[in-house]
Symmetry: C2
DNA sequence: TAGTGGTCTAGACCACCTG
DNA sequence: AGGTGGTCTAGACCACTAG
């Protein structure tokens, strides 16, 4: 059956999705190879490849050489999250952004966080405000061995958050989302009751194998992070 | 300068990343067009396109026709999350999975959740356990207009979570992550104190324009969801 | 080892959008 | 209006791996 291949590889993607959706190709089914599909759709193999590759990225298909392409058996909800800079996030919501530095200290090898490195670290705590209300409490360590120029920064006007992104590149990182009851320190900074449920992001960034910075962002009550599901 | 284009488009991607990293192409910089880069790298334009497209997907580059390709000014942490089926998540951690149905009721137009549809809904509450300990409290509504065969399901052995994924396709959805203090109902179900901070996932799935199901998953204390950052 | 997807090429046309 | 990315083609070679 020919598809209504109106304009491009997206049409092929739609048709493939339709067949999966309609259970013509049920979960676990091995679909025809690219050459046959290309003949079926009346296009070049590269175009089919583009469509199927995209669906594989979305988690709808699994592809292996020689084994072929199959509809995944246990689909997962795959979603792409964008974690913006705090200033942008707040200003994008139409609110005014403000920043207040709470702590700026250089710690020796025995600093407060469970850092995998023993080097000297810069400890910065700050509050990010939206419309003058506490929005996020930032608790950050910066590895001064990896970022020596951080020691010259006061971070009283420009947040470490923004400074690092602008001047310190990183190669990769790890991010974790969790829920935490507010401890005394965080509750005081955010102006909420102790034990309030806070959405927390822990992020560690690396430059090659060296830790650059580690940060915990504790968001005020009611914070939500949303995303779309689907190809 | 020629790059060490050893094996393919990934090499070109690496070289582009290196130039960005080394500030040869600083944030906001417009990089050469695909034709020039192809000449520079000694490959076909399509190969350059593949590399740059991939970097645009990662959020490193911004591409617009005629305007060209530029290094993004304010990089965001873009990450891809996979939300697996609960059973898989638990079994992948080497624990035994169990499931207990807590509530199964058909509600009229006035059901408990703030659903945008006025149709009859099926209300299901269940507990997912890992090694016999409460792991997630599931609170779900199913739109019986969209999924009539759900009314024939008892959900006492197979969770609604798995049944829906296996038999009810959806086209797209929305997912939200937040932190919530445990209310009385949830605290009792999970066996935790009231006000414990819980990681909560709210997910709504659609088939075309029709809501299929809406669910709140409240994870037990200590739950974390992690992901990698980086191209 | 043979079949499949992964990738590359050289060229082409087109949609879009900035200047 | 012209330059840029988006996409398609027809063919080719290669890498991987299941049988």
């Amino acid at each position: 059956m020919k598809a209504a291949h109106s304009i491009g590889w997206q049409s092929i993607q739609s048709e493939v999705l339709r067949r999966i959706h309609a259970r013509e190709w049920p979960p676990g089914h091995v679909i025809p190879n690219e050459i046959d599909l290309a003949k079926d759709f009346g296009c070049a193999r590269a175009t089919v490849n583009r469509a199927l590759q995209s669906l594989a990225d979305s988690g709808v298909l699994e592809r292996r050489r020689k084994a072929g392409t199959r509809v995944v058996l246990h689909p997962v909800s795959r979603t792409t999250l964008d974690i913006p800079i705090l200033r942008q996030e707040i200003e994008a919501a139409g609110k005014t952004y403000d920043y207040r530095l709470l702590l700026h200290a250089t710690d020796g090898p025995n600093h407060g966080m469970d850092l995998p490195f023993r080097d000297t670290a810069l400890h910065v705590q700050a509050l990010h405000l939206a419309d003058m209300k506490a929005y996020v409490f930032e608790d950050r360590w910066i590895n001064l061995s990896a970022v020596p120029k951080a020691s010259e920064q006061s971070f009283d006007a420009l947040s470490a958050n923004e400074w690092l992104i602008q001047y310190v590149p990183f190669t990769h990182g790890e991010i974790a989302f969790s829920a935490q009851n507010a401890d005394a320190e965080t509750a005081k900074a955010l102006g909420v009751d102790i034990d309030t449920a806070l959405f927390v992001i822990d992020r560690t960034t690396f430059d090659q194998d060296q830790i650059v910075t580690q940060v915990r962002l504790s968001y005020g009550p009611g914070y939500k992070i949303t995303a779309q599901i689907g190809p």
